[in-house]
Symmetry: C2
DNA sequence: CCGACTCACTTGACAATGTCATTTGAGTGC
DNA sequence: GCACTCAAATGACATTGTCAAGTGAGTCGG
């Protein structure tokens, strides 16, 4: 037996999942409210019962994507050496960028940063990342600037990889090698 | 007296300029073919005489934006010390990212990298940048990987600045300081 | 000088889409 | 058992990208 609120929550989840799938499959242009409704098994107007507009639905997708990264960071237990945790954390981020390029772009898009729920998920993930960086460099004072440099650089590497602007032929280097160069220079 | 081909070329220029203005003013959503036509003094269907579709018009805007950066790099004459030229080159890129954030995002977007004309402008600009990096580090062999790291990192810094994900309160650092940290670590 | 032609541009039309107002109907509390 | 709530469905509308057909100013051979 499903209560009304349970059904509504399930519909909301189905809408976000459907939007995420369509985003992964065909980019942001493929995420139409009609397609989302159809895949979620509801009508085209149903999203308006859960989100004020399409942008908020996409923000929910971005929030969920950030939460997935955050949960993956939770699995990096402290019994590993800090440098290994940093490497795994960056590898996890690069993995999202490569497996779900459209979702990744959405996670770092401007509208996402303006939705409180998304901001909270981003902030929590960044805090986890900063804690790892602090353990690596051993200096909490400098963790934030250095963490910002690493995060921004990795984000730029993935973004240029996905957009086709970072090719191995042109630059004689891969994204993974660039990340290794980067973390080799911050220690 | 304007010949027919001159008039057509002028219309094409007006369309690209109008699209660039609308992009700067209201983001990519504000660039509708009707608005572009109106601002260029032609009708909504006129762009189809010069571009196969809207994406090609946006690619032309990206191309022109890259060419502007390239021309600015041309002004960095070799009588400056290499490190100063690198700093000025990066400052120029950051300036575009801050003054024209939407155009900047377009320049690094995936569709842009698939249009030959845009690719040529990008490639030329990247070559100029690589030449400067080679002069700075004095090792042509390592210029490409290091240049890639710097370019990707700066791109990530600007992108996170523009999207609101890189705030001074959160990370205790500014984008400019990150760029200084970066070039300090590659020398 | 003029008639036919070219081609950039205009206009009408259409399907797709985001959004809102209205309606419907299943679950809920008295 | 009945009125009520609220999620969902439906109808409608403006906007947009795109294409087919039409138009008219510039061009060229005679």
């Amino acid at each position: 037996m499903v209560s009304r609120v349970e059904s509504a929550a399930a519909t909301r989840r189905a809408l976000v999942d459907a939007a995420a799938e369509l985003l992964d499959e065909g980019g942001v242009d493929a995420v139409t409210l009609r397609a989302v409704g159809a895949r979620a098994g509801v009508s085209r107007g149903a999203p308006y019962g859960h989100f004020p507009d399409k942008e908020h639905l996409l923000a929910a997708v971005a929030t969920k994507s950030w939460e997935a990264v955050s949960e993956q960071l939770d699995t990096l237990t402290a019994d590993r050496p800090p440098s290994e945790r940093l490497q795994l954390a960056l590898a996890g981020l690069m993995d999202v960028g490569r497996r779900r390029p459209h979702a990744y772009a959405l996670m770092f898009s401007a509208p996402t940063a303006e939705h409180p729920e998304a901001l909270a998920a981003v902030s929590r993930t960044h805090d986890q990342f900063l804690a790892i960086v602090a353990d690596v460099i051993g200096d909490p004072q400098r963790a934030r600037p250095i963490g910002a440099l690493v995060m921004a650089s990795v984000q730029g590497i993935i973004a240029m990889e996905n957009s086709g602007h970072l090719t191995a032929e042109k630059w004689q280097v891969t994204g993974d090698e660039l990340v290794r160069m980067l973390i080799g220079r911050i220690a």
